[in-house]
Amino acid sequence: MAEELQIEIAPDGKVTVRTKGIKGPACMDLADIFVQLLGTEDVRTKTSEYYESQTAAKRSVQQKQQRS
């Protein structure tokens, strides 16, 4: 899946960043970069895809462990 960012800068300067296709902690790292760059964090929400990718990664590790 393509990694995407949608950045919206409102007329009052407030910034909303939405990520798509960025798995797990990498998404949080990217969010940290924007907070450090711009100012004060108001809201940070992990969406279902964040947890899906986390779950998929855990499942993959478990399958590998079972095989070995």
Binding site: E4, L5, Q6, P11, D12, V15, T16, F34, T40
Partner: protein, 153 residues
């Protein structure tokens, strides 16, 4: 979607960086530059309503060039003067005949918002380029929200 982040920006920069944001913002709002980068005169416009606004989340760095200067912009008899206050914050003084102080304050806050928006836009685009992140689309919505689309870096 993986995550959603909302950030309130801090405007911290040199006077030239703030000036560039002011110039970009006024161009989109129909203001014209009455005086750019001039020395402060402190001229009092007698008889005109006046509203002063200090941008709390701002800091104009002292060691940059032009910190003692101001930018004056005008539109429909309203004059806005941008300068750095004694604490180093961005200050905007709004003046205009036929407007109440509250009206001038409201107009000034809208102007400050758009200056902040342009400042943030420049900062974001510069950072994306430095990180070699490809901007594949940019648009300005009817509500003047700037949308930047980045893909595959």
């Amino acid at each position: 979607m993986s995550c959603v982040l909302v950030v309130t920006p801090l405007v911290i920069g040199s006077w030239p960086a703030i000036s560039a944001a002011v110039t970009a913002a006024i161009a989109t709002m129909g203001y014209s530059l009455a005086k750019a980068a001039g020395q402060r005169h402190g001229v009092d416009q007698h008889g005109k309503a006046k509203a002063e606004i200090t941008v709390e989340d701002s800091e104009i760095l002292e060691d940059g060039a032009g910190t003692g200067q101001e930018i004056v912009v005008e539109k429909d008899g309203i004059r806005a003067t941008f300068s750095r206050d004694a604490r180093g914050a961005l200050r905007v003084c709004m003046e205009g005949e036929g407007h109440s102080k509250a009206e001038l304050k409201k107009i000034g806050e809208e102007l400050i918002g758009r200056v902040t928006q342009q400042y943030v836009y420049h900062k974001v685009v510069t950072e994306l380029k430095e990180r070699r992140m490809a901007i594949v689309g940019e648009e300005v919505g009817e509500d003047r929200t700037i949308k930047i689309h980045v893909r595959n870096w």
